[in-house]
């Protein structure tokens, strides 16, 4: 039997959040944390959490698992459970809607702020815009982001200034478009980032890199943005 301690909060019923303990029979198998939640959902139909693809590509089930942000569906118990105890909390820093479900509006707003779409002021050709494999390679490690918010909610700079610091996820995408040879809005994009908060609140502590379930490196992307801003200004 595994002891699972879960953060519970229902806005209509609870004044304050609390931790509730459950016992789960995992059959001795090394299942994923999401499987545990699905088993618990049979016990307690009122438990709320998000899930969709259950294979780590949709980014629904980011949560704080024994103290570290991660995706429940690709986190096997063996990699997190110590002393037979699993503690699940919602991702930090954003408001809780219910149980493990957070309100991600602030996170999405920061994503939208960087204009996360291709901008090109030349007329589109009759076929695709050509791009060499070398140019395309620059997008590797950037476009794979699944917007799970594990990184941004692990970042103290985002905790303190979620409204003004874009956060690692948004900045990774900012660089994804800066790095795309098909995008012509580099100047406009950089001009929108050159304030003391949007990019420069990153102090390089690399929590984002540690927790990213897709193995991406936002800190490196932020460094690239800084270099581009520097080149532009000097």
């Amino acid at each position: 039997m595994l002891t699972v301690s879960i953060y519970r909060y229902h806005p209509e019923l609870d004044e304050k959040p609390y931790m509730q303990d459950f016992q789960v029979d995992t059959g001795g198998k090394d299942i994923m944390v999401l499987d545990v939640l699905n088993l618990l959902k049979i016990q307690d139909r009122s438990l709320a959490y998000r899930r969709s693809c259950r294979e780590g590509v949709c980014g629904s089930d980011g949560m704080n698992i024994n103290g570290t942000n991660g995706l429940a569906c690709i986190t096997p118990l063996s990699s997190v459970v110590k002393n037979n105890k699993l503690v699940l909390r919602p991702l930090p820093a954003l408001p809780v809607i219910r149980d493990l479900v957070i309100d991600m509006d602030q996170f999405y707003k920061q994503y939208e702020k960087i204009k996360p779409f291709l901008l090109n002021d030349t007329p589109a050709p009759g076929i695709e815009r050509l791009q060499s494999p070398e140019e395309r390679e620059k997008l590797d490690g950037l476009y794979e982001c699944i917007l799970c918010a594990c990184c941004s909610t692990a970042c103290p700079s985002f905790w303190w200034n979620p409204d003004r610091f874009i956060g690692p996820a948004g900045l990774l995408q900012a660089y994804r478009f800066l790095a795309d040879s098909r995008d012509t809005a580099t100047e406009e994009r950089l001009a929108g980032l050159d304030d003391p908060f949007s990019v420069f609140r990153c102090h390089g502590i690399m929590n984002c890199v540690t927790v990213c379930p897709k193995g991406l490196n936002p800190t490196k992307a932020i460094g690239h943005i800084r270099n581009m801003l520097m080149t532009r200004a000097t």
Partner: protein
């Protein structure tokens, strides 16, 4: 009981924020119509995100002489000749434009040395109408094409300014007194508020329903909500017996391993290490149609040549491709195999088994996405105000078996086409009477019953029973007797499904309520599947029967049409009239 609901009004609404839904929403928003995209998950969590291998389309990058007619030929043959040839013609010919639009939107396709979009070989692809050998026609962004496509579409919609109602669940459609669809009753999941969302045009883009089976590559959200809503409204559905089992789901986990693995040179082996597909499909081998490969795998397992302790799977060999190819062309697969199969494909083969993957059937539509009501074998009428695109629709471009890479093409081409059609209808002055209170109440019946349930069946248990029944009686191979047994069990389940107990009656983010509503949709899909499968007395495409092993063109070169009100299966003519060329006549299908 009458509820006065808050009303929101749009000219057009799209239900579903996956690839098809977002492509339709983009088209509608750009046309200037007041549009909302209603989606039960944040758009990038939709199941399109899990598509891996690519989008098949004759863009003539790999082969400058490639021709969309060759693609059309493959698709018609792949469909085992019950794909509608006018629709397939439209998809294959408009496809390149739709794919280039995705590139212009920013989709990070992999590239060739010439700077063009990288194309890889997929199953069932040929050059020169089957005479020129294997083609490479599937446009790919590594093995994350669905992810790249879905994000590019979301980004395109952000740029276009589409209104999204994220995490809103559509309960049932509202029909006015004339029978036209005039919107939907939906729940805002975050608050639990129920709202009537009024619209002149309602587009169903709710995707598939793979969760009717126990073992599926589909996301947990693929619960056939659109088909469920349609069937409850009395609309017929087409070809529901046609379920694709993907050859390579990871054994045990169900997660998908792309056909692109075999496209890049991987192949299947049995416990003796034999490349068994050489026996079943001497020419195309591992790149035969998915139905053919899946059946061959099951036969290997049934005949005792399966792998593992229980001999219940076969192996997908990839290590000979080398680490460099695997890490550059199939990085996502490496990741999934390590996580879910505990196997590193660089060194070891991946255990795989045919797994439910795609619903070829759905609500019958025309090329413009208008939902059709088949009145007889040859006559149809348009259901006013209702459109469908993507997996929920049956245009039908996939017929009895979908080719790999054609689903992504289907959803962008027909999502776009539905948008264009709605714009045209509105410009021509389409009007519908507003719904009466009684009309709205009718769409609230199901939700009210559930909300008032004091006792009843457990949602988790009924769902599990349903999935087990479908897995056992309506799998890769089917047989009359056992299907009748399955149908009997389903009839018993219907009583339970209409008597679910909703334990949690609160408002905010109530997933108990959503799961109950989803389960009822799953059931409708499963039941339609069962009736259709039991009554199509032949083997065609994905529908393989042990008691009727051959294709019967005389009686069954037809769509099946399930009429829910009478629980009756009818037939509908297949379209053999493409606009610009001669139709491809049915031939014996070998690979």
């Amino acid at each position: 009981m009458s509820n006065i609901l808050r009303k929101m009004s749009y000219e057009a609404i799209v239900i579903g924020g996956g690839g098809a839904g977002m492509r339709a929403a983009l088209q509608l928003t750009e046309s200037g119509l007041k549009t909302a995209c209603i989606t039960k998950v944040f758009p990038t969590r939709s199941h399109t995100v899990s598509a891996q291998g690519g989008i098949t389309c004759a863009i003539a990058s790999n082969d400058p002489n490639d021709d969309w007619r060759w693609h059309m030929y493959d698709t018609v043959k792949g469909s085992d000749y019950i794909g509608d040839q006018d629709a397939i013609e439209y998809m294959c010919s408009v496809g390149p434009q739709a794919v280039f639009e995705l590139d212009h939107m920013g989709l990070p396709f992999s590239r060739t040395e010439e700077g063009r979009i990288y194309q890889r070989p997929f199953g069932g692809q040929s050059k020169n109408f089957g005479e020129g050998g294997q083609a490479a026609r599937t446009c790919a962004a590594a093995d994350r094409t669905g992810h790249a496509l879905l994000h590019a579409l979301y980004q395109g919609n952000l740029k276009g300014g589409t209104t999204f109602l994220n995490e809103w669940f559509a309960v049932d459609m509202v029909q006015n007194d004339d029978g036209a669809v005039v919107g939907v009753v939906a729940i805002c999941i975050e608050t639990g508020e129920t709202v009537y969302i009024e619209a002149k045009a309602t587009v169903l883009a709710t995707g598939g329903a793979g969760r009717i089976y126990q073992s599926t590559t589909n996301a947990l959200i693929n619960t056939g909500d659109g088909v469920g809503m349609g069937l409850r409204m009395g609309l017929p559905v087409q070809d529901m017996e046609m379920w694709q089992f993907h050859p390579t789901g990871i054994a045990g986990a169900g997660t998908l391993v792309t056909e692109g693995c075999r496209g890049e040179g991987g192949y299947l082996i049995n416990k003796d290490g034999e490349r068994f597909m050489e026996r079943y499909a001497p020419n195309a081998k591992d790149l035969a149609g998915r139905d053919v490969v899946a059946r061959s795998m099951v036969l290997e397992i049934l005949e005792g040549r399966g792998c593992g302790e229980n001999g219940d799977h076969v192996l997908l060999k990839l290590d000979h491709l080398g680490e460099e190819v695997l890490e550059s062309k199939l990085p996502g697969i490496c990741e999934l195999s390590r996580t879910f199969a505990h196997v590193d494909p660089v060194f070891e083969p991946v255990p795989v088994v045919p797994t439910c993957h795609y619903m070829m059937g759905g609500l019958p539509t025309n090329i413009g996405g208008q939902v059709l009501y088949p009145e007889s074998e040859s006559e149809t009428r348009v259901v006013d105000g209702l459109y469908a695109c993507g997996e929920v629709a049956c245009v039908s471009v996939h017929g009895a078996n979908r080719l790999g890479g054609n689903s992504l093409l289907d959803l962008v081409v027909f999502g776009r086409a539905a948008g264009i059609q709605i714009e045209k209808s509105m410009r021509e002055g389409y009007q519908s009477e507003a719904a009466s209170q009684a009309n709205v109440d009718a769409a609230m019946v199901r939700l009210n019953t559930l909300n008032n349930s004091e006792s009843g069946e457990s949602i988790s248990e009924v769902r599990e029973e349903l999935q087990k029944t479908m897995q056992l009686y309506f799998g890769v191979f089917r047989e009359g007797d056992s299907m009748q047994k399955g149908l009997e069990l389903l009839r018993e389940l219907r009583i339970k499904v209409s008597n679910l107990h909703l334990q949690d009656k609160t408002g905010a983010f109530n997933t108990d309520r959503i799961e109950a509503l989803e389960l009822q949709n799953l059931f409708e899909v499963a039941f339609a599947t069962a009736i259709s499968a039991e009554q199509r007395k032949e083997s065609r495409g994905a529908h393989a029967r042990n008691d009727f092993t051959v294709r019967d063109d005389e009686n069954w070169l037809k769509h099946s049409v399930y009429y829910p009100l009478e629980e009756r299966l009818g037939k509908r003519d297949v379209n053999f009239s493409p606009k610009t060329m001669e139709a491809f006549p049915p031939k014996i299908r070998t690979y």
